[in-house]
Amino acid sequence: MKVTVKYFGLVAEATEKSEEVMELKGELTAIALKEQCLKGLTITDKDSVQIAVNQNLDDSITIKDGDEIALLPPFAGG
């Protein structure tokens, strides 16, 4: 299955891209996908990064074909 992964803030800086299409195999939860995406990146506090699946922050969701994934570092609005 294919998903679009969007990167923001320090995650986009670490990946050096703002988004990419990823080919995934097998059943995967959001938290597992987050770990897979962050592996190898130089991010000090990986636990502070949240994953959104179709704009939903529940990381127990199972990823489906066509999902829009976003990796979100700590919020800093205001």
């Binding site: 803030g9 700590p74 919020f75 205001g78």
Partner: protein, 147 residues
Amino acid sequence: MDRKKPKKVFVQGAIPPEKIANSVANHQSKTNIGAHSIFLGQIRADEVDGKTVIAIDYTAYEEMAEKVFHEIREAAFAKFDITCAHIYHSLGKVNVGELCLFVFTSSAHRKIAIEATNFFVEEIKAKVPVFGKEIFEDETHQWKVNK
């Protein structure tokens, strides 16, 4: 006020101070209002390890942010007896001393407006996917984290 309609929150660059005056002026015809409460977020020249912040460059997951702003509005209207509410947040570069957040609520009475504004600000800081790159005078940067 049409409170159900999603409103455009993001503005490019700093929020001009004139926008605050204009917003107040736009509400003078609404005579059921007895109190406005305004919060203005301004970029602070923080010092970190001897370097001074000169600007914050804001980015956002815009589609999700607009959705969350709308949910916060709905929650605020359910919780507080406010007449109207407006939120504006900057995207892109905002220099120190300039405004990056403008929350404006109106109600018949002051306490409700003040509490509603506080609710908006806290919810926005906690829940909206906005990211801030703090730029120092030597062009290095660090990523802002809300406390």
